[in-house]
């Protein structure tokens, strides 16, 4: 059954990718990219990667698509005719693809439990992480403890993206904040958004703190919380949102999240362990792991929330600016 679903989803993905190549309407391209992202998230669910699916759905289909639409609003929707010859790219792609297909020929079979991937490092995560870390979600255990340094790097990447977007676009606060913006004419949307947004934030908190037991964690929670604010900004206009969470405050929050994460590492260094060694955080190693993971997930959540919202602000303030002119 899983194989059948897998096959159907892969076929849909292939068609979507082909359609994206040939479409000239960039708006449609972005919509199809959203679908592509959704579909790949379905594949991830089908292949048991629920945490990944969670992230891909909220990031790929959510944040990326919204940002792409924001860019399109500023750059125009139509792709002009391509004067490049498509022969050379096709050649490059064929060669690369052929190399990869050649590489697949010695691959271990799909899904075989005897594959080297499942034999060497991973068994310890599966068999011992429930005792060593004490959490049912192995992905969270590996992400936040065994490979916590990767995750710190990931948070720093997000932070770097915020620096990049701020340096490039900046966030302009308009003087005349009574400017027409938001979806003023859609009264129904206003009512519904008011009902939905608090629940979304509540859900984000649930994802943040339930990530140890089910799919979710700081990153997904940050994105969902940012999505709630984005919804607010889309419906009620940017100036209203800026009044709730100011750009300066978000910058401060983004830095704070990174520092919180690194701070856990420093504390464990002071207590005599290695960087990010949570065992030293409390007398009982398992409790130490719990404290460590909760705090760093919080740091991740705070940074991701602040950065995603800042990036959205930057794009949105550009769009409103050009709209006025």
């Amino acid at each position: 059954m899983a194989e059948l679903i897998d096959l159907v989803l892969l076929a849909m993905l292939a068609l979507t990718a082909l359609r994206i190549i040939f479409l000239k309407d960039l708006f449609a391209v972005v919509m199809l990219f959203g679908i592509y992202s959704f579909l790949s998230a379905l594949i991830f669910i089908n292949l048991d990667a629920v945490d990944v699916a969670f992230t891909e759905a909220s990031v790929g289909a959510g944040i990326s698509t919204v940002l792409m639409l924001g860019t399109l609003a500023l750059t125009g929707r139509k792709e002009k005719k391509n004067s490049h010859s498509s022969l050379l790219p096709l050649l490059v792609v064929t060669v690369t693809g052929a190399a990869l297909i050649y590489g697949t020929l010695d691959m271990p079979p799909f899904g075989d439990p005897d594959n080297p991937v499942h034999q060497h490092v991973a068994p310890r995560y599966i068999e011992e992480s429930p005792q060593e870390i004490g959490l049912p979600n192995m992905v969270t255990s590996v992400l936040a403890s065994y490979r916590a340094f990767d995750t710190l790097g990931e948070v720093v990447v997000v932070f770097a993206a915020a620096i990049g977007v701020l340096a490039l676009l900046g966030i302009r606060r308009k003087k005349d904040s009574d400017l027409e913006s938001g979806l003023k004419e859609h009264k129904v949307l206003h009512v519904i958004a008011k009902i939905v947004i608090p629940h979304v934030i509540l859900f984000a908190l649930y994802v943040q703190f339930h990530g140890d037991f089910g799919p979710g964690g700081g990153f997904q929670a940050g994105v969902i919380a940012a999505a709630a604010f984005i919804l607010y900004a889309l419906v009620f206009g940017l100036p209203n949102t800026l009044a709730v969470a100011s750009p300066k405050f978000l910058q401060w929050m983004a830095s704070f999240g990174v520092l919180l994460y690194a701070g856990v590492g420093l504390v464990s260094m002071i207590k005599g362990g290695q960087f990010l060694d949570y065992n030293k955080l409390a007398a009982d190693p398992i409790a130490g792991q719990h404290y460590g993971i909760i705090i760093i997930e919080l740091g991740v959540g705070i940074t991701v929330f602040a950065v995603m919202l800042s990036i959205f602000y930057a794009f949105s303030s550009q769009a409103e600016r050009s709209n006025v002119q």
């Binding site: 059954m1 899983a2 059948l4 679903i5 159907v8 989803l9 849909m12 068609l15 979507t16 359609r19 309407d25 708006f27 449609a28 919509m31 199809l32 959203g34 679908i35 959704f38 998230a41 379905l42 669910i45 089908n46 629920v50 699916a53 969670f54 759905a57 909220s58 289909a61 959510g62 698509t65 919204v66 639409l69 924001g70 399109l72 609003a73 500023l74 125009g76 929707r77 979806l183 859609h186 949307l189 958004a193 939905v196 979304v200 859900f203 994802v207 339930h210 089910g214 799919p215 979710g216 997904q220 969902i224 999505a227 984005i230 919804l231 889309l234 419906v235 769009a319 050009s322 709209n323």
Partner: protein
């Protein structure tokens, strides 16, 4: 019961495929959005059903996220049309 669930999953997949076809080729841009929206809502149902089919229904969180993102995506699209003329 599993058979019914499996059949339902497949059927939802088919509906998704039809919606996808609408998103690929549509007479107006609004039809395209309609197709995308329908695809999104059916995906939510699909995830819910597949969770029960695989015996791990605790993944409904993902369905919630899908529903949420689908809605925000729709609002973003509408907002997008405030800036650009939607003429095809």
């Amino acid at each position: 019961m599993t058979e019914v669930l499996a059949a339902a999953c497949i059927a939802i997949l088919v509906v998704m495929a039809i919606a996808l076809a609408r998103a690929f080729k549509a007479p107006t841009v609004y039809d395209r959005i309609l197709g995308v929206n329908m695809f999104g809502t059916k995906t939510v149902l699909f995830i819910a059903a597949v969770g029960f089919l695989m015996g791990r229904p605790d993944f409904l969180d993902i369905a919630i996220v899908y529903a949420l993102i689908n809605f925000i995506g729709m609002v973003a699209v509408l907002r997008f049309f405030e800036y650009t003329a939607p003429a095809e």
